[in-house]
Structures are given as structure tokens and as C-alpha cells.
Subunit: 87 residues, 2 copies
């Protein structure tokens, strides 16, 4: 059994309006950052997942995204499994 | 002038309590994902920044983090500048 560091990025789908990103974009413009556009804002999670193999850690992390971390209608997610420290 | 795709990750500092991450961790345990621990939750932003060079885009994105995107007391950030499409 190892503990794998898993990084999950959850972003609003490209086709959907992203009100949070829009609010940040407007605030940046108001602060003088006129060169910024197309701001999208999502979540970044770092988890430690105990699993026998890297593939098992990836599969469990994907299940967590499907069940809780991402909204399947409005969000897309990426999962990256990093190094496993032997336990 | 090119438009660079910039990715910004803002995470709560390691030494600080992360109530959002803790709430997610408890919810995952309640859903049967007992193998997860050390959940930290932050923000992921994707921006398009117009700049003459990649280094200028990086500097401007860092300035945006210092001014608005990250809380310098409680959060750390990483900035990655991706490809620039010539304009």
C-alpha cells in the first residue's frame, strides 16, 4: 500500500458562462490589467490517496470526481497522480 | 504582441488550516472513500494575457496574483505561461 499525491483540477465547461471568471476579469480590468481576457476560474484539489498501484489511485480519484468533486453537467476535470511513497 | 495562455494555481498555505479541504475530506469519507487524506482545496484560473514576450506575460500574471488573485497572508500561488499565439 502506498500513499499517492493526487492533483485534481475542476474547471467550468468551455461552452458555459463562468460568472466567477467574469467577475475576476472585470476586477482585473478595474485594477489596470487591461491586457487580460478569457478568465476562467475553477478549483484545484490536492489529495493523498492510499492504493496498491498508481492506476488504482487514479481510478479512485476519478470516482471521487464523479461522485462529489465535479458537477458532471457543468464542469470538466483532470486528474494527475504524482509520486507514491511506500508505506 | 501575442496572447499567452496563463495558468494560475492558488492554494492555502501548508501551515494553515484549510476548512474547505477538511469539509471535502469529511464528505469523501462519508461517501465511502476512506482511503483519502490530507485534502487541500484551492483555486485554478486560466487567463489569456496579451504581452510582447513570455517573460512579460509571466510578470504581469504575477502582479495580478499579488494585487488580487491570491491572499499574500494565507495563500501561495504558482504561475505557468503556456503557448503564445502570434497576433
Amino acid at each position: 500500500m502506498s500513499a499517492f499525491r493526487v492533483e485534481v483540477r475542476v474547471m467550468p465547461r468551455a461552452a458555459l458562462l463562468d460568472p466567477q471568471g467574469l467577475a475576476v476579469e472585470h476586477a482585473l480590468h478595474a485594477l489596470g490589467f487591461g491586457e487580460v481576457a478569457q478568465v476562467r476560474m475553477g478549483k484545484h484539489l490536492v489529495l493523498e490517496v492510499k492504493a496498491a498501484t498508481r492506476n488504482e489511485a487514479l481510478a479512485r480519484a476519478r470516482a471521487m470526481c464523479d461522485r462529489l468533486l465535479a458537477n458532471p453537467v457543468t464542469e470538466d476535470y483532470d486528474v494527475v497522480v504524482g509520486g507514491g511513497a511506500a508505506r
